[in-house]
């Protein structure tokens, strides 16, 4: 596994101590100066989210850490929770102070149940050391965190679906607005942040917003943790500044001969070799951290088929474009694999994909056709007119 220098060099609780010395607007302005955007993939500015929740008036507020890492090819949150859980809990505590929340919930996906024990142990240790509880480090700040187990649903990574699950309902995304920062868990203002975002918060408070901004691009500041898998020599966890080109990343992981790279998991873009000069950033090719490398011999249709099977399985079934659209796309891919798809029908499928992007209720349906569309665009010679021998 590659070194994670900035995380390793982080002094324990430095961020929390810095945050305790500041007032609430002071913390948010530091975060705002850093330009930190949500590391789960959607890229919403964290400071703006916190500001909404901080401004809301309510009896209770919640800080929710989204550890429902389900995007295919993503495992950075697992590694952060295994090796740096304190950074995440510290970030949640800082968020608690900034927003005025006393309760934190870590939503851990069911597949990561084996992490629960170690996480509970670190929480207990933090309580003993006065880093959680009634009076944190003698500052009068009150905050505590509990772990809530998910039950195996990809869609619960969507923040409103996650809240539905916490409340004991089916994980079906809600209409937004109202946003969780205003009406979230139990109707109270809730901040839902990704694991990595919260870990970065601790680093930013310790080292300052300017430090974070010093790398990355204008719109995508700072560094990002990447989970690299697939046909490369050195899969694993990497840290790069945002704005890194796909080619540079491939060089580091030993995947120079790739014919395509899936950036952002099943719901992300499939970048073909001719576009390897493109950069990984919110304004170019965005990602929640997932990088899957496809070597020269991969069948791209098989890849898309796997993605669409995933979406058919994980669609919550609430809205029609996503529930039926993914099924139709999957059938289309099966036809392409059998060499029975006409050009007219392929165009229809692309139009369906575009409709899904526009008409689906949540991010799942809006992004599920992306991989299909980019493969159709980039690998048309490979997918059309197949004979059975190729299947």
């Amino acid at each position: 596994m590659n070194a994670i220098p900035t995380y390793r060099d982080q002094v324990a609780e430095a961020g929390l101590k810095a945050a305790l010395a500041k007032d609430r607007p002071g913390i948010i302005s530091e975060l705002s100066a850093s330009g930190l955007k949500g590391r789960g993939g959607a890229g919403f500015p964290t400071a703006v989210k916190w500001n909404f929740a901080a401004a809301a008036q309510a009896a209770r507020k919640f800080i929710i850490c989204n550890a429902d890492e389900g995007e295919p090819g993503t495992f950075k949150d697992r590694v952060i929770l295994m090796e740096y859980p304190d950074l995440v809990f510290e970030g949640m505590t800082i968020a608690g102070k900034a927003v005025g929340a006393k309760e934190g919930i870590l939503f851990l996906r069911g597949e990561y149940a084996y992490l629960r024990g170690p996480l509970e142990t670190s929480l207990a240790r933090r309580r003993e050391r006065g880093l959680l509880g009634q009076d944190i480090l003698g500052s009068g700040l009150e905050f505590d965190i509990r772990v809530f187990m998910g039950a195996g649903a990809y869609v619960c990574g969507e923040e409103t679906a996650l809240i539905e699950c916490l409340e004991g309902f089916r994980g079906e995304p809600r209409n937004r607005p109202p946003f969780p920062a205003d009406t979230g868990y139990l109707g109270m203002p809730s901040v839902v942040n990704n694991v990595e975002t919260l870990a970065w918060v601790s680093c930013i408070l310790a080292n300052g917003g300017a430090w974070f901004r010093s790398v990355g691009t204008e719109k995508s500041t700072g560094r990002k943790i990447f989970s690299v898998s697939g046909d490369c020599l050195r899969p694993g966890i990497y840290e790069f500044p945002l704005g890194v080109s796909v080619a540079e990343l491939l060089k580091q992981v030993g995947g120079e001969d790739a014919k395509a790279v899936q950036v952002g998991g099943a719901s992300g873009h499939c970048v073909a070799a001719k576009d390897f000069h493109r950069t990984i950033a919110y304004e170019d090719v965005p990602t929640g951290g997932s990088i899957i490398v496809f070597g020269p011999n991969r069948d791209m249709l098989e890849v898309v088929e796997n993605f669409l099977e995933f979406f058919v399985d994980e669609s919550c079934g609430q809205c029609t474009p996503c529930r039926l659209g993914n099924r139709k796309l999957l059938e289309g891919v099966e036809m392409l694999r059998a060499g029975r798809c006409s050009m007219t029908y392929l165009k229809e499928l692309c139009a369906l994909g575009e409709t899904m992007e526009l008409a689906s209720k949540c991010g799942l349906g809006q992004s599920s056709p992306t991989a299909f569309l980019s493969v159709v665009e980039n690998f048309r010679d490979e997918i059309m007119g197949r004979t059975v021998a190729q299947v």
Binding site: P72, G152, F169
Partner: protein, 173 residues
């Protein structure tokens, strides 16, 4: 005095409701706990949980049917979940699948007749750099090869035989 399984389950559900709070927010944790202990959520369990939380059993069923780790189908004591998503698929998940089916004599989605093993698929379980990966209950196995399948099953059997102590089983679940 003999205690039927129903009575035992009712008592357990009442205790859980007491501990977690008789609120809707306790529903998912309660269901996970009962499923873990009893390997199924039958209509009796759904009714008892609904009563404990003061909601209609249909509400409970709507939640049970939604989540992959719940569901009202009975499962074996060892639920084997093989990751079927892209990175594991690229690293040879198909051969592991075949070997699991061969060794257990069941297909995916089925449970062995003795109620020991269930084979299921899971979507990406976040072990993409160390695939193929599978979970046996909460325990994780990575870089599984068809050959290793036998070892994994053997390990399950060793804690599952008639002479195995309860304490030994705890390690695996």
């Amino acid at each position: 005095m003999l205690m039927t399984e129903r009575e035992r389950m009712s008592a357990e559900i009442a205790a859980l409701a007491e501990r977690l709070g008789r609120e809707r927010t306790s529903l998912v944790p309660m269901l996970l706990e009962i499923k873990r202990k009893y390997h199924r959520l039958n209509s009796f369990a759904l009714q008892a949980i609904a009563d404990a939380l003061g909601i209609h059993p249909v509400e409970v069923h709507s939640v049970v049917s939604f989540y992959a780790f719940l569901g009202d189908h009975p499962q074996g004591r060892f639920v084997i979940r093989l990751c079927r998503t892209i990175s594991c698929a690229m690293q040879g998940k198909e051969r592991v699948r075949r070997q699991l089916e061969n060794d257990l004599g069941i297909r995916f989605g089925e449970t062995t007749a003795d109620g020991s093993y269930t084979l299921e698929y899971a979507n990406c379980m976040g072990m993409c750099d160390q695939g193929p990966a599978l979970l046996v209950n909460d325990r994780l196995f990575t870089r599984v090869t068809p050959e290793k399948v036998h070892e994994i099953l053997q390990e399950c059997r060793s804690v599952f035989g008639v002479h195995a102590a309860e304490a030994k089983e705890v390690q695996l679940t």
